[in-house]
């Protein structure tokens, strides 16, 4: 053992860990504020700035959707790799792994409908900026690519890849390309179940690139640079609400 090694502490904790719980409720008049799902997540932020989230999602609305995802981005929020596993109506739907390279993304997947599939999709606009794995906790990460120095307005991610074009993410997992428009409304202080936070307020306008038009989506994230999802809601036929109800730093 070298002198420099022996001088080092026996433990190494260069990362931080946060855990959160997001409650899914309905805003339909006949189901107002009823719980309809939940999400548990752990985010590890490495000493070099990248981060990995492991997230378990349950949507109770029949047919139920259960999704486990593990997704990693680098310090610039650029996707590195992702695992997604889907259960629909308590039956296996699919399991897949995504690897994001500079010029292309590959997907190795096995689904109940498509069987074993290997996909390779070339990027049309350089390195992929963001990936939609359908965890609510990761919806807010897209907005890390909004240039806040330009103030409120609308900006776009020209090429986003999804693991499913279904609004609930209940197909695949397989690659699907999309353009994402992002509206920055401004900053405000908001209170959610997990506490009171300084927040960025964003919107995703109606998206017509999907097989079915997605209603507008309001998203509030923390303003501390971590883009932690605080609350959000989808209008139109969905009338769903999502809110961070537990949040704690466990390491670091």
């Amino acid at each position: 053992m070298s002198a420099s090694q022996s001088d080092q502490p026996i433990t190494q904790i260069e990362h931080t860990v946060v855990r959160g719980v997001i409650a899914y409720t309905s805003k339909k008049p006949e189901r107002m504020d009823q719980e309809r799902g939940r999400e548990f997540y752990t985010i590890t932020k490495y000493g070099w700035g990248g981060r990995t989230i492991g997230v378990h999602t349950e949507i109770d609305d029949r047919p139920s959707v259960m999704r486990d995802a593990t997704y990693t981005v680098d310090k610039n929020w650029m996707p590195q790799d992702c695992f997604v596993r889907l259960t629909v109506a308590d039956k296996f739907m699919g399991t897949g792994w995504f690897k994001f390279h500079d010029d292309y993304t590959e997907c190795e997947t096995y689904t109940a409908l498509e069987g074993r599939v290997s996909q390779r999709m070339s990027h049309k606009h350089g390195s992929l900026k963001s990936f939609q794995n359908h965890a609510i906790a990761c919806d807010s990460w897209h907005f890390s690519h909004y240039d806040l120095s330009k103030g409120p307005g609308q900006q776009s991610i020209d090429e986003l890849l999804l693991c499913s074009p279904d609004h609930r993410g209940a197909t695949g997992p397989m690659l699907y390309p999309l353009r994402l428009d992002m509206v920055y409304v401004g900053d405000e202080k908001i209170t959610v179940g997990a506490g009171t936070f300084d927040a960025h307020h964003f919107q995703v306008p109606t998206n017509t690139d999907l097989p079915e038009e997605h209603p507008p989506y309001e998203v509030y994230t923390t303003a501390d640079g971590d883009y932690t999802f605080l609350k959000g809601g989808v209008a139109g036929y969905m009338q769903t609400h999502y809110e961070l109800v537990e949040f704690e730093k466990t390491v670091g």
């Binding site: 190494q12 378990h56 690897k99």
Partner: protein
């Protein structure tokens, strides 16, 4: 309250393990932790999602996902590891009849596709989450207490801390089922199966004796465990949350 438009056919359990040392100079010092979610579906399939942290230098951070059939034969898995706070590997495993496949990218080996044949269904998989060790015990025949039982398992790494790969390797643990006892851990008092891993063939370095206690409720939840020899590590379930 569950309404007709709800579907909750599964059971979810969440747990937290603390890793401590039993070395005299570090006695009972926390040296890592693990948080997991277990889902049991109506047909008996189980999924485990685990996040583990080993603080001992070089640190190991691991995300593991494993799904098994009601008979504990694995269906698919994912392992992602960070060693010394740097990326080490990310790999996806699928266990079909007669063959396991692995699609992985690692810092040392690069992008690899593996195929590993076997007869019938895959006997079991170890992704190095401590809770996954509890599931390995499901391969032990409880009708043969006191006997040495050796069986095959695929593993994501042959390193004792699981700090290589991930890729497919084979190990053959020899385990003695020592019977049942009532034990108390941080998460409460439980009826427990006691297993003793006396050897593991297939590893480059000999693994010390490893005692493991799991629940007797069929979910093989890891309650406590201790590795002897040079490791002198101890693992204990300190929180268990039932249901939604």
């Amino acid at each position: 309250m569950t309404k007709p438009y709800h579907q909750r056919d599964h059971v979810t359990r969440r747990g937290r393990l603390v890793y401590t040392s039993k070395k005299p100079d570090r006695l009972d010092e926390e040296r890592g932790r693990e948080q997991w979610t277990l889902t049991r579906h109506a047909d008996g399939r189980r999924s485990l999602m685990s996040h583990g942290e080993i603080d001992d230098r070089p640190s190991v951070l691991r995300f593991v996902h494993l799904t098994a059939n009601a008979d504990w034969s694995p269906i698919d898995a994912f392992v992602r590891i960070t060693v010394g706070d740097e990326f080490r590997g990310s790999g996806w495993f699928r266990f079909a009849d007669g063959v396991a496949e692995c699609e992985t990218v690692t810092a040392l080996e690069g992008r690899m596709s593996q195929r590993f044949p076997y007869s019938g269904t895959c006997p079991g998989f170890g992704g190095h989450a401590i809770q996954n060790d509890g599931w390995v015990c499901a391969s032990v025949d409880l009708s043969r207490p006191g006997e040495q039982q050796t069986f095959s398992q695929l593993v994501s790494s042959t390193d004792h801390r699981g700090a290589t790969g991930p890729y497919i390797a084979e190990a053959r643990p020899t385990v003695i089922y020592q019977g049942n006892e009532t034990i108390t851990v941080g998460a409460g008092t439980f009826e427990a199966h006691h297993f003793q891993f006396v050897a593991v063939d297939g590893l480059p370095e000999e693994h010390p004796i490893y005692n493991v206690w799991t629940t007797t409720d069929g979910d093989y939840i890891f309650l406590k465990g201790q590795v002897d020899g040079y490791m002198q590590t101890y693992y204990e379930l300190v929180e268990l949350t039932e249901g939604l």
